[in-house]
């Protein structure tokens, strides 16, 4: 009747420590990069690093990688709806002076 039994996976402390270190590294990296002039890439890089961090937190700390399809669908859905909000709003603002 309900979703398939979701096994509890116990990750090792080492995994979590590695993830934490990766996250901190990303933080330092993104701060450092911010002082370099990359033109339009500045935004792209900053957001890419943030997305990587988000993925790390979601996958490991929030256990998405062990989660059911439904949970993954929920996560993807949330991001998609955020995308709808941002993209359709921006269609107005970027085409106003055309």
């Amino acid at each position: 009747m309900s979703a398939p039994h979701s096994e509890t996976h116990v990750d090792s402390v080492g995994t979590y420590v590695k993830v934490l270190l990766a996250l901190m590294f990303c933080t330092v990296l993104t701060t450092w990069v911010a002082y370099i002039d990359l033109g339009a890439f500045s935004t792209v890089i900053a957001l890419s690093i943030a997305s990587v961090k988000m993925l790390l937190v979601a996958m490991f700390f929030m256990h998405v990688r062990h989660s059911s399809k439904l949970t993954k669908l929920v996560v993807v859905g949330a991001l998609m709806w955020l995308g709808i909000l941002l993209v359709l709003t921006m269609t107005d603002f970027v085409t106003r002076n055309m």
Binding site: S2, K53, A58, W81, L85, L86
Partner: protein, 225 residues
């Protein structure tokens, strides 16, 4: 009604048949709640995107007026709290009752430090008159004409960090409750759903900050000053 045994766990509520069903329901519920949170912050992200797009230079200068080092340190503190949180959940999985308590306390502590640093930053803004809506608002390095746009930046800054902080405060309240319950020995390897679910919330608040940090502090920082 007939086919459910009450013995599995004290915590099995009447509408459920099995403990597993109950846990799955709670987890799904929390994930859906996080979806609503994404959309809630999404409204502000949309406003931010619109105005950053309209006034990129002003926003860059405003970003530069924030303390990036403090921001980065604070980000690390928050990440640390996420780490201790996931350790608390792990302790739950393994049924280590003592460890749950200690990791929760650590999480609470790091959360507190984060909020403390945030408060210091805000205080700075008040002292510098970077408060939108105040007649005294003035951001150095900007023409009079652009002060309005700078106010937009700071409106977003306060709205976004403020609501983020509010979520932290709520999270801290939840942690406190968990700690109390953990002290009573409520959690075990077979029942730690509340810790698990609270963890999801805490990590989510962390993820929001992971985006706020570059958006508010970092992007185009090289342009300012």
């Amino acid at each position: 009604m007939s086919n459910h045994a009450h013995s599995e766990s004290l915590e099995l509520r009447v509408q459920f048949d099995t403990a597993e069903q109950q846990r799955d329901a709670s987890t799904l519920g929390m994930w859906l709640f996080l979806v609503t949170e994404v959309m809630f912050f999404g409204g502000m992200f949309a406003a931010y995107t619109v105005y950053r797009n309209l006034y990129p230079e002003v926003f860059a200068i405003c970003s530069s007026s924030l303390n990036a080092v403090l921001g980065a340190v604070n980000t690390c503190v928050l990440l640390l709290s996420s780490f201790t949180m996931v350790m608390a959940v792990r302790a739950g999985q393994l049924g280590q009752q003592k460890a749950i308590i200690w990791f929760l306390i650590l999480t609470l502590l790091f959360g507190g430090i984060f909020l403390g640093v945030k408060a210091v930053e805000w205080k700075e803004k008040f002292d510098e008159h970077h408060i939108p809506g105040q007649a005294a608002f003035h951001l150095e390095g900007l023409q009079q004409a652009d002060q309005g746009h700078a106010q937009l930046f700071f409106s977003l800054y306060f709205a976004m960090t403020g609501l983020h902080a509010l979520h932290m405060v709520i999270g801290a309240g939840i942690l406190l409750g968990l700690i109390l319950h953990a002290k009573q020995g409520r959690y075990s390897a077979s029942y730690y759903t509340p810790v698990d679910v609270a963890g999801l919330y805490w990590h989510f608040v962390d993820v929001i900050w992971i985006f706020l940090f570059p958006l508010l502090y970092l992007i185009d920082r090289h342009l300012g000053k």
